[in-house]
């Protein structure tokens, strides 16, 4: 199985503060990994390193076997087409229709004019595909609605749909359910993990809900103050370990 992401001793700092240090992580194709840890432990930073939004100032980051720092802009773009990102604030365009937001997932693959064409004159097959995707996520009837008329949870699904539509090799999701109530959050995580497993997409997610992480993800990575505290199968992670991870105070 190919290695999708390989961090080796990676570290990055912001304004004098070391956000991550000495992170060594392989992620294989098709894996489902969840990064957990207290606020400020570096979860977002870690995901940022993986698709090149942040540059490591120590160690190396390899995605799809290529060292990110060595890539040209064009190669980086190419590489990113295989990575979908779902940020915490979703990054949807509020005045576009749901259909159009989802279509943006293919922006990298089809180029500027291809995207314009798709948004302005959507073909029937494309619309059908999006509708099927939305149906699997439970909101098919919202296909043509303006995205900002949807509820928070529904918008979350649209963001997920966009990531899935991209047909990426890996999805990086940064706290995708942070502002959603627990019940809703659970069904969303279930949805995403199921879809990813079905399509064979590698899933790397950061979560705050520890229980959900344990329930749905086979592999958990715990971060504390920028370091990897543990990187184990979910069964191996005891409640004791979790308590320690989230304890404040002495380092």
């Amino acid at each position: 199985m190919a290695t999708v992401v390989q961090l080796t001793g990676a570290g990055v700092s912001f304004g004098g503060v070391r956000a991550l240090r000495g992170v060594t992580l392989p992620v294989e194709e098709g894996e489902q990994v969840c990064v957990i840890g207290p606020s400020g432990s570096g979860k977002s930073t870690l995901l940022g390193l993986m698709n090149g939004r942040l540059i490591a100032d120590s160690g190396s980051v390899e995605v799809f076997g290529q060292d990110l720092v060595q890539l040209t802009a064009g190669q980086l773009r190419q590489l990113r087409c295989g990575l979908a990102w779902v940020p915490q604030d979703l990054g949807l365009v509020p005045n576009l229709r749901v259909l159009q937001n989802v279509l943006c997932g293919k922006a990298g693959a089809v180029g500027f004019f291809g995207l314009l064409r798709r948004l302005a004159l959507t073909r029937m097959e494309e619309a059908e595909r999006v509708r099927d995707l939305l149906e699997r996520l439970g909101i098919p009837e919202k296909l043509y609605e303006r995205t900002d008329t949807l509820s928070g949870g529904q918008q979350q699904r649209v963001a997920i749909a966009r990531a899935l539509y991209q047909e990426p090799t890996a999805i990086l999701a940064d706290e995708p359910v942070a502002s959603v109530d627990p019940g809703r959050a659970r069904s969303l995580i279930e949805l995403l993990t199921r879809e990813a497993r079905q399509e064979g997409i590698t899933l790397i997610m950061s979560l705050h809900h520890v229980e959900l992480a344990r329930e749905f993800f086979p592999r958990l990575i715990g971060l504390q103050a920028g370091r990897v505290a543990f990187d184990e199968a979910a069964e191996e992670v005891s409640s004791e370990k979790l308590r320690e991870l989230y304890s404040m105070g002495e380092e």
Partner: protein
């Protein structure tokens, strides 16, 4: 014994601002030599005012003149033609400005910049180039806007000759500059989330920019363009004072002939035109920010075709687009002659001569010895130019302070959410006089609407005839017009605000003014200041041209130089005015940036 609580921060920024405002106000009055006695109109002035007000309720429906030349067209044809011309110039100018503004606005914003690798030297060079381009473009845009459209028109007409193209360019240049500036600000302020996601997914910069930022900014862009169109109609009307036959021209000639009722006809026509565009803009804005009326919702089982049929569509938006587009095309194609009738060779010669005369005459006469520039400049600027500059600044400043105070005092009575017996939608009791509150609010809002729809130039022109050539007509005209604008904007700020503190005060039984000063005002103070600063430098910009009506300030110096055909002097004073406005623009931007930093906003800042 009562002890007054001394706030430790008595020199806090808010009080400092107020103190500065009061000081500026008093200094301004002093510098301008504004005397309260001058406010009293002469006997002749009072009589004129009386006649004028009487004429307001009987606008002319036909020529007032007794004998007419044989070839005179029917009255309404004349009025209609003038209106069409006014609208046509406004539309065509806006289409040009929109194009220029979009291009320059994008170039002048940061949002289209590709991700630059700052650790590499080539990346740093690229960043430096991008930054310089941005600064240069924004400077150009601000410069274009710093010259008032009347002055652009004067320059074009003097240099080349009268023509519709001159009129259109005179509006398109400053408006293009403003649009460019506002567009780039809007684009920069947009939440880059969507663009970032697209870029992270491999999309190119242009796609990420256009869809992630551009589409997102679209509603605000369109809203602002429509607002500018309304302003363009006003600008087009006052170009009439430069001899171009739009509505302003007929108002001026009607006054000369003493046909006061005709003046009102033209004024009403202008008012209606401005109001129509204004309401249209408001309608489009509402539709863009909120989905339309309830319609059939899609069903879970519906196939794509069915869902597509049921999709939310806005008739208003589609119709508006077609209408706007059609109007612009009609405007462009129905002008019989864009350029003046002079042959191209003659136009070229005129332009060359103008450029030659623009060089200061001592320099010209000494065979382009630019060493002579210094003394010539000094002679012009000290003291005349500097005094005029100073006065222009104060005219604008005093006017906006007046307007701001008046608007602030009126907002509690005019804002929809306050001017009703159910304040902030909390049920109030029975009123002694039914509907009095709402009525007062209505009247105030209507007054503000009228004041903001009549161009300052026309108000000043009419007031000058009544009050005589003192500083007051200019100040009052600016104050009234801007007061109307500030009142409307201020009311919107209050209406759009959901203030928990205010509701608590209502529940506690506070009076209206108590609620206003106790909760709404402090919370919205920064927003009000923002509006004030925005209008402040617009006021100064208007003040530079109002002087052309005859009161000592930059405008009068420009007019004087024009009369003597001293184009070098004229250009110098125009430039001085532009520099003043440019400086005001920069200062206003800085102040607004500082204020905005402290504001928690939902979405982009509301534009005017």
């Amino acid at each position: 014994m009562k002890k007054f609580y001394r706030s430790r921060h008595w020199l806090g920024s808010r009080r400092l601002t107020l103190l500065a405002a009061v000081l500026l106000f008093l200094v301004g009055l002093l510098v301008l030599g504004a005397k309260p006695e001058d406010l009293k109109p002469s006997e002749g002035g009072l009589r004129l005012a009386g006649k004028f007000l009487k004429a307001a309720v009987q606008p002319a429906f036909d020529y007032e003149a007794g004998d007419l030349p044989a070839a005179a067209p029917p009255f309404w044809e004349k009025v209609g033609h003038s209106l069409v011309l006014t609208l046509r110039y406004a539309l065509v100018a806006m289409s040009m400005a929109l194009f220029g503004g979009l291009v320059l606005g994008v170039l002048g914003s940061r949002s289209w910049w590709p991700v630059v690798n700052v650790s590499s030297p080539s990346g740093l060079v690229l960043l430096w180039i991008l930054r310089s381009v941005r600064i240069v473009i924004r400077a150009l845009a601000t410069l274009a806007r710093s010259v008032h459209e009347l002055l652009w028109a004067l320059l074009f007409i003097t240099a080349v000759g009268t023509s519709p193209l001159a009129a259109v360019l005179a509006i398109a240049l400053p408006y293009g500059g403003t649009l460019a500036k506002v567009f780039s600000e809007l684009l920069d302020e947009q939440d880059a989330g969507a663009a970032n996601v697209m870029r992270a997914g491999g999309a190119g910069s242009s796609a990420a920019f256009l869809i992630g930022v551009g589409v997102r900014a679209f509603p605000d862009l369109i809203t602002y363009v429509l607002y500018r169109l309304e302003c363009a109609v006003r600008s087009s009307a006052i170009l009439g004072f430069m001899g171009i036959p739009t509505l302003g021209y007929h108002i001026a000639t009607a006054y000369e002939d003493g046909h006061l009722r005709e003046i009102w006809t033209y004024l009403y026509v202008l008012l209606i035109a401005v109001l129509v565009v204004d309401q249209w803009g408001a309608l489009v804005r509402r539709r863009l920010s909120r989905p339309g009326p309830a319609r059939e919702a899609g069903h879970v089982d519906d196939p794509v075709a069915e869902l597509r049929r049921k999709r939310p569509r806005s008739l208003v938006l589609r119709a508006s687009l077609v209408l706007a587009f059609g109007a612009v095309v009609v405007g462009w194609t129905t002008e019989s002659r864009w350029q003046s009738e002079l042959p191209a060779g003659q136009r070229q010669a005129n332009l060359e001569r103008f450029m030659r005369e623009a060089i200061p005459h001592p320099v010209r006469e000494a065979d382009n010895d630019w060493g002579k520039l210094g003394p010539w400049l000094k002679e012009r600027i000290c003291p005349e130019g500097a005094v005029a500059l100073h006065r222009t600044f104060h005219i604008g400043t005093i006017a906006i302070l007046f307007a701001g105070c008046a608007a602030l005092l009126a907002v509690p009575f005019a804002a929809r959410s306050l001017a009703t017996r159910n304040i902030l939608e909390v049920p109030g009791g029975r009123e002694r006089v039914r509907g009095l509150r709402a009525g007062i609010g209505c009247v105030l809002r209507a007054g503000a609407l009228v004041m903001r729809s009549i161009p300052e130039y026309i108000i000043a022109f009419l007031l000058l005839q009544v009050l005589g050539p003192t500083i007051w007509p200019l100040v009052i005209a600016l104050a009234l017009h801007n007061g109307g604008i500030l009142l409307r904007l201020g009311s919107e700020v209050i209406d759009n605000r959901s203030s928990r503190a205010a509701e608590v005060l209502v529940a506690q039984g506070a009076t209206r003014s108590g609620i206003f000063t106790g909760s709404l005002l402090p919370e919205s103070f920064n927003r009000f200041l923002l509006l004030l600063f925005y209008r402040w430098e617009t006021c100064i910009r208007e003040a530079t041209v109002l002087g052309m009506l005859g009161v000592l300030s930059l405008g009068s110096l420009i007019d004087d130089a024009n009369t003597r055909l001293f184009y070098d002097d004229m250009l110098l004073y125009v430039l001085l005015g532009a520099l003043l406005v440019f400086a005001g623009d920069v200062v206003s931007d800085l102040l607004r940036l500082r204020l905005k930093g402290g504001l928690v906003r939902k979405g982009a800042v509301h534009l005017f």
